[in-house]
Symmetry: C2
Subunit: 111 residues, 2 copies
């Protein structure tokens, strides 16, 4: 779907069902590790999570850093590019809170 349209371009990177939820978990809940993401109430499948983390790193939205050698483990952090998706999410929250009954702010209460 190449096109110079910024909305398209953005959707090519984060226009799927899961990527923005991972960003949400990182921004609002400070999550950085694999099992923290699988623990979210939406229950992202593990294969999808692994794929999205790779994809988002490839796109420069997150960066993985090792924090342990044996077994090798790493944590995932947002880059500036990823962090700056925050205003997009904020507007989504406003919109949902106004138009979709049953939504709660902040986005992810401990369940």
């Amino acid at each position: 779907m190449r096109s110079p349209c910024p909305i398209c371009a953005a959707l090519d990177l984060v226009g799927d069902k899961w990527s923005l939820l991972i960003v949400r978990d990182m921004i609002w809940l400070g999550k950085t590790r694999y099992n923290q993401f699988t623990d979210s109430p939406e229950h992202i499948p593990t294969n999808i999570l692994a794929d999205r983390l790779k994809r988002m790193e490839r796109f420069g939205l997150i960066q993985s850093k090792p924090y342990q050698d044996n077994p090798p483990r790493h944590e995932y952090h947002l880059t500036d590019k990823g962090l700056e998706l925050r205003p997009v999410l904020i507007e989504m929250i406003h919109w949902a809170n106004k138009h979709i009954p049953g939504t709660i702010t902040p986005p992810v209460p401990i369940d």
Copy 2:
């Protein structure tokens, strides 16, 4: 993916590759008719377009009004709920313009 998270809820409605592009075409280019949407440079397949229009109407994002009887034709307009996705798109545009090279504002120049 039910959960009270507003971001989830929003993504359930417009978290796919095409819905927000249709909204974009409506907001920025004033498009209202079937063939206008298929004419966009991203070339949405007709079956997907028909499906998304139905879906978005079901979700209350758009409303279809007949403008001709024979053959029956109608045009699609954003509801307030749909219109108010504008700030979300605006933030996406800002983000893309800043972080994805090659994107242009306004989003869809006549190609």
